[in-house]
Symmetry: C2
Subunit: 296 residues, 2 copies
């Protein structure tokens, strides 16, 4: 499986889904800022993971579209806020000015709120209820809310902010931050794929493990790229983590130590993916692809 | 019915609910900012309305507690963000420094995110599913998400921001802002009371009308208070609307015109409340109480 090509193909499909989801609100004064943030080019790794897990069980792409959108909306909301002056003060992302630079802080913030809320609208629509039943939709809401909130994404982000001026950060704290700030939403993505794809309870537990371990490795790889790369390569303000004194594995373990840590998590993720009853070639291929990138 | 006394009594009950809901996250670094914003003294009018509608149908206060909390959490999230420097830059509310003044902009923003997300966690918990069934919980999520998002609260807030430097604002625009910024969440509160209290479909439609009309009147009354009062009376920076050039009925119709407008909406709200099959003395009493205050 050519992972790079497959990811590109899925990203094109997901971009179409995202554009369709925003179309009904094009009359809103927030449409421009929401579109700017949500449709800005990206790897779409989270919805791609959700889709892969879903399709390991069932083959009806149409119905999972609102779920793919919901996941990317939560990601886009977190990215907008991450870049705000009160947070990391990022002005460049994926090679483009960040949302608040283009649309102003107020519209950027409100667009982020709108995207987060829209994610829950997507999961609770009457159409979704008809397709999947209220029980599964509610489980989806539960998973997304739990993993995005104070015990997930937002909690991790908060810990990241309050430790960002600390000289020495414990490895346990860094792990907490990565597990919540990054891995939680990746975990939500695969869990939603499982919930709507009707995964068994044992597979759900394995998906949880996969999401968490793959998610942490994904964040470490991002930190490695940030530490090593120039602005032109990453498309965002380079060395930003260092400048903001972010808690990263690279900062604590060094580049080689961080690489090793990422590979350890990828082994765990691979084991979990291999042990699924409903296996996905994409999940395993993606882990191998990441491992190869991390080694080089 | 002594509305003032009843409101106070309910506020005490609701304060207990809110404190209980935050207790499980007291280990979180966000607990302080979340508590500061959510438990700060307030009228608790939205959860009180929800409770009244719910109790018009059924008498089991225990089970509606997560719903009351969810509504006040969405309100608190919107208040935190409203006061941010990038928005209205309010430093005083209910006689106390605003959340970002005390906890910093980053923690205030993350606490607002955590509260919004927690509202959806409250509505989708396994306990709620057991009590009310997934179908009703999902309808609750749907109502709250729809009315809080780009077609509700957030949309109204965005329109408020982009028109705030305009010299002349159309009455239709002001109505749009009030309907969405304020009335939408009040509508959500009564609808949630109806959904979980098992209101009939015809009562649900009447509740929708009540929530919208009462909500607009409530915002006009707030604008009248802001225009007329001193800081000591309202507990927030006085004349803030005028300073920020907010779109208000007072600004467009003058004090007398705004009073008249509020009373018109209160008549509509009263008619809707009176026509309910499951009537609530509190709803009617509250309308009369507001009308009396508006006249004086």
């Amino acid at each position: 499986m050519d992972i790079r090509a497959h990811l590109k193909e899925e990203a094109v499909y997901i971009d179409g889904v995202l554009a369709d989801c925003l179309a009904p609100m094009k009359e809103s004064v927030l449409h421009a800022a929401m579109s700017y943030a949500l449709l800005s080019p990206g790897k779409r790794i989270r919805p791609a993971l959700c889709l892969a897990v879903y399709e390991a069980c069932t083959r009806d792409r149409e119905r999972i579209r609102p779920v793919l959108a919901a996941i990317e909306m939560v990601h886009a909301y977190s990215v907008i806020q991450d870049d705000l002056p009160a947070m990391d003060n990022g002005t460049l992302r994926r090679g483009k000015p960040t949302t608040h630079v283009v649309h102003g802080e107020d519209m950027a913030l409100l667009a982020s709120d709108a995207l987060l809320t829209l994610a829950f609208e997507e999961l609770s629509s009457s159409q979704m209820m008809e397709w999947f039943g209220a029980d599964r939709c509610l489980r989806g809401v539960q998973a997304l809310a739990d993993l995005s909130g104070v015990r997930g994404l937002v909690g991790g982000q908060a810990m990241d902010m309050i430790t960002s001026s600390d000289e020495h950060i414990e490895l346990g704290t860094i792990e907490y931050i990565h597990r919540n700030k990054t891995a939680a939403l990746i975990e939500a993505a695969v869990l939603l794929g499982g919930i709507f794809g009707c995964a068994s309870e044992t597979d759900m537990e394995k998906l949880r493990v996969f999401g968490e371990d793959f998610g942490i490795a994904y964040q470490i790889a991002d930190d490695i790229a940030d530490a090593a790369a120039t602005e032109a390569e990453t498309g965002k303000t380079a060395g930003q983590d260092l400048k903001n004194r972010k808690a990263t594995y690279v900062g604590t373990l060094g580049l080689m130590g961080a690489r090793e840590k990422a590979l350890q998590y990828l082994v765990l993720a691979r084991d979990a993916a291999l042990s699924l009853d409903e296996k996905s070639d994409f999940l395993i291929g993606l882990v191998d692809f990441m491992a190869e990138k991390t080694r080089s």
